[in-house]
Subunit: 137 residues, 2 copies
Amino acid sequence: MKIGELAKQSGIAASTIRFYEKKGLLPEARRLASGYRVYDDNNLKQLQLIRFAQSLGFSLEEMTAIFDNNRVDHDQALQHLQQKRQELETLVVHLQEKQRNLGTLIEHLQHSWENDHCMSPESLNALMRQSGKDIKQ
Amino acid sequence: MKIGELAKQSGIAASTIRFYEKKGLLPEARRLASGYRVYDDNNLKQLQLIRFAQSLGFSLEEMTAIFDNNRVDHDQALQHLQQKRQELETLVVHLQEKQRNLGTLIEHLQHSWENDHCMSPESLNALMRQSGKDIKQ
DNA sequence: ATTAACCTTAAAGCCAACTTTAAGGTCAAG
DNA sequence: CTTGACCTTAAAGTTGGCTTTAAGGTTAAT
């Protein structure tokens, strides 16, 4: 199949597929005499794997390192994945904390607005002191 | 205090403070005769509030809308906050799912690499079919 | 033979949230 | 009265992950 068909089947724009190839995330595609790129179902799977890894928070650069087929260092790849899991775990904990803080903040604001119609920096400050750093990603 | 001091106390670069002012997120600072910006502790609190809101996932644009003091529409601000909490909740659920998937993936890979030293696309596919869409943000 | 739908490339543009650069002006210490 | 740390501005650069543009070449149908 040609790039338009692969784009349709994968849901990834043709321009993005070319972009991935240029970045080295995808191998250089075989070409027709006309210069058109040709793909098969393996390429479709590669794209799906990319989207999956992306949904796990991997950057294109990380994927290029891990999925550089031919010479995958399995142990390194595994380490990458485990680190990612750890990061994800930390992120979730942080986000849950934020969520709680935000809930509390909303309640405080509802009360303070019912009374004095101002933002009551005291409650804000209390929350802000508690709240950790970044959300990141 | 001057901008360098505020930068030090807030942990936010002076260039960033100027940038926030230009964006309209901070009010225009009072100036010395020399043209130097002058700040007080309220400005420090404003910056801390910005970092806090940022940690909750608010963009500078959203904050500009919400914290446009003088004429805050409390109901709208509250709606913003509640929507953010909802988004955060959804995000957490998705991330937890990703985390589980990633754990499963790691186990599968450990097994398949012990045996045939290849990535066993079958297990990957199974996971990928299950796994929802975006992480987003 | 023409048209429309496809493909090619390099290069530029986009977004948020900054950071850096260039070319200055101010101020306190020695 | 000079040195160095600080401040000013507008404008350009950065990052990641694309998308868009411009200027073409190919293919299939009519």
